[in-house]
Point group: C2
Chain length 361, copies 2
Amino acid sequence: MFGEIKLLEKQADYDKLIKEFGAKRFSPKILEILKTRHKLIEMGFFFAHRDFDKYLEIFKRGGQVAIVSGRGPSNYIHLGHLIIFDFIRWLQSELDAEVYIPLSDDEKYVFNKVKTLEEAYKYAIDNALDIAALGYNPEKTHMYVSSQTKWVYKISLELSRHLTYSTVKAAFGLTDSVNPGVVFYSAVQAAHILMPTIKYNYPVVVPIGMDQDPYMRLTRDIAAKIKVFKPASIYARYLRGLTGEPMSASQPETCIFINDSPETIKRKVWNAFTGGRATIKEQRELGGEPEKCVVYEWLMVYEFKDVKEALEHKMKCVSGELICGVCKEKLYNALIRFIKEHYKRKDSIKNKIQDYFDHEI
Amino acid sequence: MFGEIKLLEKQADYDKLIKEFGAKRFSPKILEILKTRHKLIEMGFFFAHRDFDKYLEIFKRGGQVAIVSGRGPSNYIHLGHLIIFDFIRWLQSELDAEVYIPLSDDEKYVFNKVKTLEEAYKYAIDNALDIAALGYNPEKTHMYVSSQTKWVYKISLELSRHLTYSTVKAAFGLTDSVNPGVVFYSAVQAAHILMPTIKYNYPVVVPIGMDQDPYMRLTRDIAAKIKVFKPASIYARYLRGLTGEPMSASQPETCIFINDSPETIKRKVWNAFTGGRATIKEQRELGGEPEKCVVYEWLMVYEFKDVKEALEHKMKCVSGELICGVCKEKLYNALIRFIKEHYKRKDSIKNKIQDYFDHEI
């Protein structure tokens, strides 16, 4: 279990993260305190962590814990984003955690991903609805638009004194042609992550993609300097985009947006990169290659209820029993079902979005 | 008139400012719209401007104008700071101008001039009282503590996209070891200056020391990019410190703090750098050198009511009629009188300081 099933191929930097930067694989032991298991941990999507064991120790001793996960609002949300937020929703209910969700309009603005802060704000509110619709507990969820609060600037100033431009330049890979807002954003990001610890003394865990680890290390260094709990992390592998490339909002064919029409979804799924053979005849004789198949990866998230079902499906593919059309149909139906239910939930909370916003912090 | 009297020696960069950067000397013509004359313009302390003529054109046509002048709250205020704020108070009443006074705790914090933002806040409130006590019109005065408002961060983000780290590095003379807050402060300073123009379409003038012109030019470049009125400036020469070196709060003997005791003031004045000769005999024979004399410079500000009185005094010094002790006594008395009256005014408004703060911007 825990990655040993090899449902998924290793992704780049996986080993580096484990060996060089002290991340650890999930073990059944550290998770035994949780009431339920999350299939995406079992399937190896969330595959490693740093200091999540220390964090759970505080939880075990009865301490209030917090989760931080940001969203940069420069577009409508796509299904890839929701996976991590759905995982956090599960973690919130497991740990009764306070969840902080910065909607970082400032980030998207300084990195030129939106024309105006107002444009980012519009997406922020829509994105917030999509996230809340996953079933967050409004009592324990604290969303905020980064440029709209006083404390973001204030805490960022305080943390900035523990960074230098040289360090930031290296961690973010900047050149001197960046604007001052980009440079300062390094401190702003640290402020988002550390705020629950600084203000309320809650330990924080941040579920992130592996490639974001340099910023986590920067933030952990600051935490060490100001002598607070160093934020833990949970590492997610990326669900590959439908075309086989990484999902990216700026390449619409790689992902499914929450507001894609059924026709668009059908086209994207039918054009998806699979592990299928060139002809049905070959497929029957040689079997498919599910390790390569994006559709199989997506079915793990949206269709299979557990590892057992995923493995059974894999066997059917390898044996040549399945052809790609069947899997695509299955994925299409699963996505339509997910989106339909999502909109129902989104509609039901659309007048309550302010309940999820934190007006005090 | 206007500097031609040569009451004062030229200061470094004076010619450069005029020749290379397009500043202009004050001329009687552009000032004729003002109801009164300010002795420090006549005496040449405020000696040049950039675009103040364009600014006054808008005023003449009935437009509301604004003045911006910041204070970095890292210490108690000293008399040098108050000269510029007293000039602005006069300009406010001449032009019925809206005056914006950012108390830039963020600046002092990122530049390590205070230990905490709270320390800067404490000074900010005390400095605000000293400034307000000069006689500002609370209806038209808008003070704010920079890190305590939402809009400072927001407008700074917007302006940061018009700057690059390279430009900022050159203008502020930074190295890569600075913290991200210092880099971002370039945008924050521009936000302070441009806010009244961006938010209310008021043309702005900023009275500044000559050495601050690089930041003004940076801000004017941004104004050009966002297509708003480029902030005008009025250039002040520096009143030299009592020791002959520049006044600096970190070198207490150079300046008089508003809370210095009479004994301290006496000591500082008696140790001041003068244009006096080595002995009284020499002084009587050769006369003093008022152009070199700090005490004479300070008397212009705190004692002489106009250019005529300053010239008469100068003649008495040059002729050997005066000895330094007389001038020092005169200055000491003038300072004590000024401070006594200042405290009376400060006391009378100490419960009204919130009237000068802007709670909306």
